[in-house]
Symmetry: C2
Subunit: 154 residues, 2 copies
């Protein structure tokens, strides 16, 4: 009964498809050490099994949650040690939650300003345009102190 062997060992394309990412991304994760070096077949091509698929799914899922690669690295390290206390995983998630909430707050303020700008554009000439005007003159913003200052808006 070896009819389903092809299902338990597979190439990088199948792995990537099952995890919902690109082939190059899998190689990248191997290179930066999120995935262990893959075993190879006679022709030097990577072979995977379901254990690696599980790990890759974890990685992609954590990335979808917006965790940084370094955070994912720590979370993976913890997932590899089920007997350890999970305080640190908790701390990472809480910190990330705080960051996400801060981003939402900044983007919401931004959305309000953009809405105001767009709503007030009468569709005439550039020199009457509210959009260009507001960008030229910070005084015209509701939150004149700045929308995020030096930092990137994310």
């Amino acid at each position: 009964m070896s009819h389903n062997t092809a299902n338990t060992v597979f190439g990088i394309g199948t792995l990537a498809k099952r995890a919902g990412c690109q082939v190059q991304t899998v190689r990248y994760y191997e290179k930066i050490g999120l995935l262990p070096p893959a075993t190879r077949n006679a022709g030097n091509q990577r072979r995977y099994d379901s254990a690696t698929l599980g790990r890759l799914t974890f990685i992609r899922h954590a990335r979808d949650f917006g965790f940084s690669v370094e955070a994912v690295r720590e979370l993976l390290g913890m997932a590899d040690h089920p007997n350890m206390p999970c305080d640190h995983a908790d701390a990472i998630a809480k910190r990330h939650l705080d960051e996400v909430e801060a981003r939402i707050a900044r983007l919401s303020a931004l959305r309000d300003e953009l809405k105001r700008m767009v709503a007030q554009c009468a569709g005439g000439r550039v020199d009457e345009c509210r959009i260009v005007e507001v960008l030229s003159d910070h005084q015209q913003c509701l939150h004149a102190a700045g929308h995020g200052g030096q930092q990137t808006i994310r």
Copy 2:
């Protein structure tokens, strides 16, 4: 009456400080063509006047609003032609507003999932940890379809 000449022509440090950005950023904007090549003094140092300060302030302001550099380039081009119709400025701002709203929506869904995860972590061992568990198993998400799929969460 030349006592305030120093106020109308100034160096890159003063320009950067007045616009609220870094000196290197000013040179970068010149390099990518958002700012015109600066005039130089005898010692090859850049000299600026209030016109450039206005342009730089516009750029920083638009960037603070989250407009991409390419969008800023277009907006600057329009600001340089006050007699033209402002339809395109309007379109750029509307598109940006849509993007910001989409980001907020995705981040909000993310925030909800993270809150759930964090709330359910009992603070025990890793193998009982809700955070690690959810990351291991996509099924446990409310929005099992994905938090943004392939795209970066911003």
